[in-house]
């Protein structure tokens, strides 16, 4: 955050206005407009005890959203707070905490917003179940169409004995 906040301001009156309107959001405003923070990602070697722990850490931090530069996950963000949170996650892993416990710890402080994988609860039912419902409704409609057309096809094939000329294949 430190580097982001003290980054030299550049250009655009609109930009300046929006920064003044919400000065604390500087980092974000810049990140959004200028993609500035994107290519400066975090490379942060931590003393993992083995490869499995490293992979687990990478997978977990990829599912967590950074609050400072909100388009990045915790694994990639180079905001200082993201570094602190990575270290926190790392320490909790060493203390034998499960992924769920680590997520709960962060949610208790920063809200569901930190989870890129939205938990299933009444507020997200629409999110999780709508695609399924659409497929089911679609499949139902599709089945009706196919049945109707198949009936028609049967009726016609009784009239004409020639089903489907091979030449018309494509």
């Amino acid at each position: 955050m430190r580097s982001a906040l003290t980054r030299p301001a550049s250009i655009s009156s609109g930009l300046v206005r929006s920064v003044l309107r919400s000065a604390p959001m500087r980092c974000l405003v810049f990140a959004l407009l200028a993609l500035a923070a994107l290519a400066a990602h975090a490379i942060d070697p931590l003393p993992f005890k083995d490869r499995a722990e490293e992979v687990r850490f990478q997978q977990l931090t990829r599912q967590l959203r950074c609050l400072v530069c909100q388009n990045q996950d915790l694994a990639d963000s180079d905001a200082p707070l993201a570094g602190d949170l990575r270290r926190q996650v790392f320490e909790m892993m060493h203390a034998g905490k499960s992924d769920a416990e680590i997520k709960d710890y962060l949610v208790a402080r920063y809200n569901d917003f930190v989870l890129y994988d939205p938990p299933l609860k009444p507020g997200t039912w629409l999110l999780w179940f709508t695609p399924l419902a659409l497929v089911l409704i679609g499949a139902f409609v599709l089945a009706r169409i196919v049945r109707a057309r198949a009936r028609q096809a049967l009726a016609e094939s009784q009239k004409t004995t020639q089903p489907n000329s091979g030449d018309d294949d494509w």
């Binding site: 955050m1 906040l5 000065a23 926190q88 809200n111």
Partner: protein, 181 residues
């Protein structure tokens, strides 16, 4: 009838997008509401800035409401907020605790020396752990904690005259009403 379904679905989408524009112009999209509102403030025990050998804990502050202002000498927005807070805090009649977040105490002392000290007490959180416990992500942030130690309100970003008047003061008044009988 079936032919109208796409049209209706589209209108629902337009309504949502119009809501999005409206919402976007009236809210800061990056603000994430704190889950701490209505819950006890997290426990902390931190050294004081000017007397590092003394610590201040959440328990020490029980009994009277206070404002916890999270700032840092590295944070330019905090400089904008500082005079407003200095000017308004007397009118608010509430204790002001300053939490110097992720900062070198020496820098913070210089900063306070330069811009003045409206705080009743200043504590330092050098490694930022207390800040994480409070869910701080974007200094300045300010928490209103009541006499029982419950977080009543949080401001993300700087206080302006307007939102002190429109948001903070009613909250303080509400707390005082509750405490009165």
């Amino acid at each position: 009838m079936n032919r109208l379904i796409p049209l209706f679905a589209f209108f629902a989408l337009v309504a949502l997008l119009a809501f999005g524009i409206h919402w976007n112009t009236h809210h800061e999209m990056s603000e994430v509401p704190s889950p701490l509102i209505g819950k006890s403030a997290p426990a902390f025990a931190l050294p004081q800035l000017f007397e590092p050998e003394k610590t201040l804990s959440g328990k020490d502050l029980l009994g009277a409401p206070y404002l916890l202002n999270v700032f840092g000498s590295w944070c330019p927005t905090c400089q904008y907020e500082h005079p407003i807070l200095t000017q308004q805090i007397k009118r608010l009649g509430i204790k002001l605790v300053g939490l110097d977040w992720k900062d070198e105490p020496a820098d913070a002392k210089r900063w306070i020396g330069q811009f003045g000290n409206p705080y009743d007490v200043l504590i330092t959180d050098r490694d930022g752990r207390a800040g994480i416990d409070f869910g701080v992500y974007m200094a300045p942030e300010t928490f209103l904690v009541d006499a029982k130690g419950v977080v009543r309100y949080k401001r993300i970003g700087m206080f302006t005259q307007e939102n002190i008047r429109d948001e903070l003061m009613p909250k303080i008044a509400e707390m005082q009403r509750e405490a009165a009988p």
